[in-house]
């Protein structure tokens, strides 16, 4: 959709001037917005690398110079968060895998196979995307704490598993919760992909007498590999970044099983206020896994978002 070719019947010189001016304006705007989106991030990173002295005396987004540079804040933040990183990954990775698998199955069952009444189920899934989590928080807390204290039941078992601690059992209800509430959006992502596949694919297999299970395993699974990547990245980011469920189900930010997001809002506060060097270091470290994922798979990430809006 580029329209850089000028019309031939206009005076060439004026067009060149016009195009140049426009181009300059255009790129100026683009660069302005690059600054708009990058400035807060650059400021955060620069602050993370500065001594308190330098934070107080220099412009926040300027790089630390000479004596103003320190890695102490990052080291301290990492020491505070290292446990939490393990918790976050222990929670997000299994939750994402189960989530993506179940969602793909659901999308398959509701897209590739046609039956009456499907729409009702589909709409129920769709609404599930749009339910604010507050609407289920009180029941959720009661369920996992009183009705079905799964974490307490599992904790002796977890104590016996090598490399895990008994408190990691507290992550299991969180994993199940994330899976349950993550299914609808992932299901829709898969569904839009399956809908774009040609009908003939499944029809031909059906005529050959393949069972539904065979169709899923032999045909759908292999060709949906790219979509698995998209949904996995999207959902991992969501779960890793999530705050409210952890906030509700983990007793406090000082609990050993607290994930990263729970700790960030309290880190680096002292009697003399917020230590922004520590706070920015912690925020940067917390964001690092998703930023790396995002930069490495920018295309898939964008694809996930495009599909999300239906």
């Amino acid at each position: 959709m580029s329209q850089s070719t000028p019309d031939t019947n206009i005076d060439v010189a004026s067009v060149v001037e016009d195009v140049n001016l426009r181009r300059i304006g255009h790129y100026t705007l683009i660069i302005f917005f690059l600054g708009f989106f990058l400035l807060p991030l650059v400021t955060g990173i620069m602050t993370a690398l500065k001594t308190n002295e330098a934070i107080a005396r220099t412009v926040p987004f300027m790089p630390p110079l000479g004596g103003g540079f320190t890695l102490a804040n990052l080291e301290y933040a990492f020491s505070q968060l290292s446990h939490a990183f393990i918790n976050s990954l222990l929670m997000a990775i299994p939750a994402t895998i189960i989530n993506v698998l179940l969602a793909s199955m659901a999308a398959f069952g509701l897209t590739m196979v046609k039956w009456r009444g499907q729409l009702v189920i589909l709409i129920l899934f769709l609404i599930g995307i749009f339910v604010p989590y507050q609407a289920v928080l009180v029941p959720l807390a009661r369920f996992w704490n009183n009705t079905f204290p799964l974490a307490d039941m599992l904790s002796p078992l977890f104590a016996g598993i090598p490399l895990l601690q008994s408190y990691h059992a507290d992550l299991v209800p969180l994993i199940i919760t994330h899976v349950a509430y993550g299914i609808p959006i992932c299901m829709i992502l898969f569904r839009s992909y399956y809908q774009s596949l040609p009908n003939s694919l499944v029809e031909a297999a059906k005529i050959d007498g393949a069972s539904i299970t065979k169709i899923y395993r032999r045909i759908i699974l292999p060709i949906s590999k790219p979509m698995f990547g998209v949904v996995f990245i999207y959902q991992f980011t969501q779960i890793y970044n999530e705050f409210l469920f952890s906030f509700t189900l983990v007793s406090s930010a000082s609990s050993p099983e607290a994930p990263v997001t729970l700790i960030i809002p309290a880190i680096g506060t002292s009697t003399s206020g917020i230590d922004f060097g520590i706070r920015m270091s912690a925020a940067f470290l917390a964001a690092l896994p998703t930023i790396i994922l995002y930069v490495a798979f920018a295309e898939q990430f964008a694809k996930g978002l495009e599909t999300e809006s239906g």
Partner: protein, 427 residues
């Protein structure tokens, strides 16, 4: 205070160096507290600074005396006990009580109605605490005919701490400040004649404004105006007058970043020689004493909040015991210990509060506390604090804070705030 920050950091770094071993220990502790009934488990909110030192001394002394008891003492959260209270509420709702927890007694116990353990016989009577504790504390630790709490220390709220250098420079004699209008004049003088910020004030939490308003109300219209208010019969005009005084202070004499800071940071302004005075509970003393270059009688001094001489605005910290207690015997031992002279002296000397026992040699206490302790025993009036759980029920206190938060944090609407406050206590 720098030292305190370092202390907190130091603990963090040690934990890190401890690596997996510490993690395992923490895990086991978490497991023990969450699921089993062995040993004593006490929750408190003193995560840093003077409070952390005080509780550490207290628990060390207890463990020395009772080496047979396996005690776990956990600090939860920070400012204003918010996280601690949430954590307690969650544990008690989940029918997973701890042995004991630090909290305010009095109306605040309403939160835990029906799930508290009575210590009247096993602790209060067994130790003769009723005779040795101040009557007011006995009363506040009695709830629904039971005695589920033992007091550990009392803070006085109506204090004005001032930076002597600032007052000298402005030519103000603190002893002359007998009313809020004197105070306003002094603040104006400081503003005009010196580079000091006249009044250090944190506005990040609404309770700070609420607390200051209470002092102003009592100062301008008498303690009765305040007690009438908490009983649901407030004089609206007097309340509005007090709000307007608060507004004048907040609009003219505080720092630019007040809305972003809490009281600890405001107090730092005093220590760092930037602000002239601050109102607050004498937990501020606990902060000041941690700084070797900021000493009582030299760099800072104290008067009762202007116009409240002879009044001791009463705050109380206590240890409370949940019913269905996981360790009834150990808990009783712990609570008995909390009530001893030794515990009360050791804890309060570091915390900046004063003991509730009436039989303590005041020489055992630090200079400033000695004076406060004498005031505790011999003041004319002892109104309970509003922002710290004693005066009204938790929900009403919450609504009072809401009234200030919604209508009195710039933009100021004194009428709406007064109505909000009256509404809050009328239910």
């Amino acid at each position: 205070m720098v030292d305190n920050d370092k202390l907190v950091d130091g603990i963090g770094r040690r934990t890190y160096l401890g690596g997996i071993a510490t993690g395992a220990a923490a895990g086991l502790a978490g497991c023990a507290s969450g699921n089993t009934a062995d040993g004593l488990e006490v929750l408190h909110g003193w995560t840093g600074g003077d409070g952390a030192d005080a509780i550490e001394t207290l628990t060390d002394a207890f463990e020395e005396e009772h080496s047979d008891i396996d005690g776990t003492f956990e600090a939860v959260g920070g400012d204003g006990n918010v996280e601690l209270n949430t954590s307690i509420l969650q544990r008690l709702t989940n029918e997973n009580p701890m042995s004991s927890f630090a909290n305010w007694p009095g109306n605040n116990l309403e939160r835990y109605e029906g799930v508290l353990m009575d210590l009247e016989e096993d602790v209060w009577e067994a130790e003769g605490l009723k005779e040795n504790m101040q009557d007011r504390a006995v009363e506040l630790c009695t709830f629904n005919g039971q005695m589920p709490a033992v007091p550990i220390g009392s803070h006085r709220l109506n204090n004005l701490f001032y930076n002597t250098a600032a007052f000298d420079e402005a030519g103000i004699d603190a002893e002359d400040l007998g009313s809020t209008s004197d105070l306003l004049d002094a603040l104006e003088t400081i503003d005009q004649d010196t580079d000091y910020v006249p009044f250090a004030h944190g506005m990040r939490s609404a309770f700070l404004g609420l607390q200051t308003w209470v002092q102003i109300l009592a100062s301008q219209s008498g303690v009765d105006a305040y007690t009438d208010f908490i009983e649901g019969d407030g004089d609206r005009d007097a309340m509005i007058d007090a709000l307007e005084t608060l507004q004048e202070i907040q609009e003219n004499y505080i720092t630019d970043d007040a809305s972003a800071i809490g009281y600890t940071q405001a107090a730092q302004n005093l220590i760092s020689d930037e602000a002239a005075c601050i109102h607050g509970g004498n937990w501020l003393y606990g902060m000041f004493r941690a700084d070797d270059d900021f000493n009582y009688g030299e760099e800072w001094d104290w008067i009762p909040f202007p116009g409240t001489e002879g009044v001791y605005f009463y705050h109380l910290d206590a240890f409370v015991t949940p019913g269905d207690n996981p360790s009834p015997e150990e808990t009783v031992e712990w609570q008995k210990f909390v009530g001893t002279q030794e515990a009360q002296i050791e804890f309060n000397n570091l915390k900046g509060s004063v003991p509730l026992r009436t039989d303590i040699e005041s020489d055992e206490l630090a200079d400033f506390l000695k004076m406060t302790y004498e005031d505790l025993l011999d003041s004319d009036e002892y109104p309970p604090t509003l922002a710290h759980g004693l005066a009204v029920e938790p929900e009403q206190q919450n609504d009072c804070e809401g009234a200030i938060g919604d209508h009195f944090m710039d933009p100021y609407d004194a009428e709406a705030a007064a109505d909000g406050l009256l509404d809050a206590v009328s239910e």
